[in-house]
């Protein structure tokens, strides 16, 4: 190991027997197996293979890749939760891993007790917990419930408390797995800010995320893992761009292979048609301008002409409650090609929370495709009315255009 390296990984690999991760055995199975001819073929899967890299102290490194590409396995190996099959890694410094929010929480214990327990489980020393206790409580915003058992906390409160403990974990090396992907946006921002603060104090951080925005904001360097192998390692901007380009390519290939007459591709949500943020893989979109017009765009590729189609637009809350279900154009005809649908609202008087869009095409007999948009959050300075989603009428106006080269469009209005 060369000097001045916080993490050194060399030829690291982890092999799982297929199914091993999910299944556990019963003695019964073992006994039964003795009477049966042995299954000679065992299938193995390399969750991670031949991965090597070095991280100097104080660097904040993002780890990206599709689901199941081995990102979490890498963190599990480095945090010693599981042992590698081949290769080795060397780590210099105290390691803290944050693979889940609320690790070590117990529902029967009070908020106060859980702070101590979770802190200890995450690797904080007793003196450290005591010293930061007030800070953690203030951060979590649940002072009033400190002596209430955790089981009586709402999910949101549990999250806050869990985040608060995790955010105050300050080892030399921090391994973080997508923990910021839950919770409401406001609190997320707070956590992100805390992470940025921590990253500036010279700690080494390995940060797994699907949210390229976060990765761009937090990381100097990014490692892209693809099918268990290191695909690219470099400056955050370069790797994220390459990754997004590849993700688009894959999406396109999948689109061409996919059956059915229509495939939805992507979403954009913005305040005006021209001001829609660029297509990104982010799940969270800030929708601050509730008073002004809001435009939601989605793209779809129509492969066969749709005759008597019916476009259905659904707005859902995070709890899957339907807020808007709007069926339009009973006699919709769409020619093959790439299309962009544009839903515009005079205003979107939604209460703060997390929502998502869904669109479906119905041809009178059966549903064709449906697509769920990424979740987006509404943040507001206004007082939230917790018993309602809508604070006023929601007027929907839909237009759609041939994407890229606009050939003809239709415009209709609906309530």
């Amino acid at each position: 190991m060369t000097e001045n390296v916080a993490i050194h990984v060399e030829g690291l690999g982890k092999r799982y027997r297929i199914g091993e991760r999910e299944r556990y055995l019963a003695l019964r199975d073992v006994i039964m197996r003795m009477f049966r001819p042995r299954n000679s073929k065992r299938e193995f899967l390399w969750a991670l293979k031949d991965v090597s890299f070095d991280v100097p102290p104080g660097q904040v490194v993002g780890v990206i890749g599709r689901n199941g590409s081995g990102k979490t396995t890498l963190l599990k190996l480095l945090s010693r939760i599981t042992r590698p099959t081949v290769g080795f890694a060397e780590i210099e410094g105290r390691v803290g891993s944050l693979l889940e929010v609320g690790t070590g929480f117990h529902p029967e214990l009070t908020g106060r007790e859980n702070i101590h327990l979770s802190g200890a489980v995450l690797g904080m020393r007793k003196v450290e917990i005591n010293r930061k206790f007030d800070e953690i409580v203030a951060f979590s915003e649940v002072e009033r419930f400190l002596d209430t058992p955790l089981k009586h906390f709402s999910t949101g409160m549990q999250m806050r408390l869990a985040f608060a403990v995790a955010a105050h974990l300050e080892p030399e090396i921090l391994l973080v797995d997508e923990v910021l992907a839950v919770g409401d946006l406001e609190f997320q921002k707070k956590c992100l800010g805390k992470m940025q603060e921590v990253s500036r104090t010279g700690r080494t951080i390995l940060f797994v995320s699907h949210q390229m925005n976060q990765i761009r904001r937090l990381c100097q360097r990014v490692i892209w893992i693809n099918r268990g192998q290191l695909q690219m390692d470099g400056a955050a901007k370069d790797v994220v761009n390459a990754y997004e380009a590849a993700a688009l390519r894959v999406e396109k290939e999948e689109l061409e292979r996919s059956p059915g007459s229509m495939a939805f591709q992507s979403w954009r949500i913005g305040d005006t048609p021209s001001n829609s943020p660029d297509r990104s893989l982010d799940h969270f979109l800030d929708l601050d301008k509730q008073s002004g017009p809001v435009v939601v765009r989605f793209q779809a590729f129509v492969k066969e002409e749709i005759r008597k189609g019916n476009l259905v637009v659904i707005l859902r809350s995070a709890a899957e409650n339907v807020i808007l279900w709007s069926g339009m154009y009973p006699e919709l005809q769409i020619k093959p090609g790439p299309w962009e649908f544009c839903l515009s609202f005079d205003a979107m008087p939604l209460n703060p929370g997390i929502y998502s869009w869904e669109t479906r095409i119905f041809d009178g007999n059966h549903w064709f495709e449906h697509m769920q948009s990424p979740e987006f959050s509404i943040v507001s300075e206004m007082d939230a009315d917790i018993f309602a989603y809508l604070k006023g009428p929601l007027n929907l106006n839909v237009e759609f255009d041939m994407a890229e080269q606009v050939e003809y469009g239709m415009e209709r209005e609906t309530r």
Partner: protein
């Protein structure tokens, strides 16, 4: 290949050190040094187990007294008054309670140690610490119940006017043996239970059989002298006789039987640690 986990590398170590993460080597790597650096976590797990135990029961601590006390009454009635089992000159209440004290501890500790890994699988798959801490904490947390039922024993001693003798200084040794036996067997069972989930259903039977192989309901003086050492291979036999002798001062110290028991205990804990460690490397993949 070097040891995968050098003690100083632990998260609670005072100063950062280099840690090497390697595939399991197949050699025995002592977890004790590392466990020491995680002693605060061990303390918190014990503390948690105790808290939860008393929060979830309606009558809380009273349970720790009622269980051995009622069992003692039943044993005294059926084995003592009806079957006339000899009690080495002790009142039945003392004779049975002094045996039930270590036995009930052992049974409870063994049962919670068996489930220690499986019950904590969420934590195990999300954060690292020496897994030995879990069965060890289970065995230690059960000592609280033991302490409460021990207070009841003290009351019985006063009631029957039995004064402890110098033999009581041997008592910590027997208690330690009870803890070590529970830990040694618990290590095996918790590891096995993580891999084969039906182990937990086998444990109650195991405990029941084991009780009849131990001098709980009868004195070991019923066992022929020349077979005593074989009988002592059951470490709980040495522990229970040791409890009776050291607490009441009556009868004889469990000489040769104790020697055999101590040997077996050391073997159990050593083998338990080794087996547990082999399992530890892959436990996060199977639970």
């Amino acid at each position: 290949m070097s040891a995968a986990a050098t003690p100083a590398s632990a998260a609670l170590a005072e100063k950062p050190a280099r840690m090497r993460i390697t595939p399991p080597s197949g050699w025995f790597e002592s977890p004790l040094g590392e466990l020491w650096s995680y002693r605060e976590l061990l303390y918190f797990i014990v503390w948690r187990d105790i808290k939860i135990r008393y929060k979830q029961t309606a009558i809380g601590a009273a349970w720790a007294v009622l269980q051995p006390f009622l069992t003692m009454l039943i044993f005294s009635l059926f084995f003592g008054k009806l079957a006339h089992v000899p009690s080495d000159g002790l009142p039945y209440a003392i004779f049975y309670y002094s045996a039930l004290l270590p036995w009930m501890y052992f049974a409870a500790a063994l049962q919670s140690a068996t489930n220690a890994i499986v019950d904590n699988q969420r934590v195990i798959t999300k954060v690292y610490f020496p897994r030995v801490a879990l069965p060890l904490a289970a065995v230690m947390a059960s000592l609280v119940d033991f302490a409460i039922s021990f207070a009841m024993f003290a009351v019985l001693m006063v009631f029957y006017g039995i004064r402890p003798t110098l033999a009581i200084f041997w008592f910590p040794l027997f208690l330690l043996m009870a803890v070590a036996t529970a830990l040694g067997v618990g290590l095996w069972l918790s590891a096995l239970n993580a891999i084969y989930r039906d182990v937990r259903y086998v444990v109650p039977f195991l405990i029941q059989f084991w009780m009849f192989a131990s001098p709980v309901a009868y004195p070991s003086s019923l066992v022929p002298e020349k077979w005593r050492w074989v009988y002592g291979l059951n470490p709980m036999a040495g522990v229970i006789e040791g409890f009776r002798w050291s607490l009441t001062g009556r009868g004889n110290p469990p000489g040769i039987m104790l020697g055999a028991s101590v040997g077996v205990v050391i073997l159990l804990v050593g083998a338990g640690l080794a087996y547990f460690q082999r399992m530890e490397a892959t436990v996060a993949d199977v639970v």
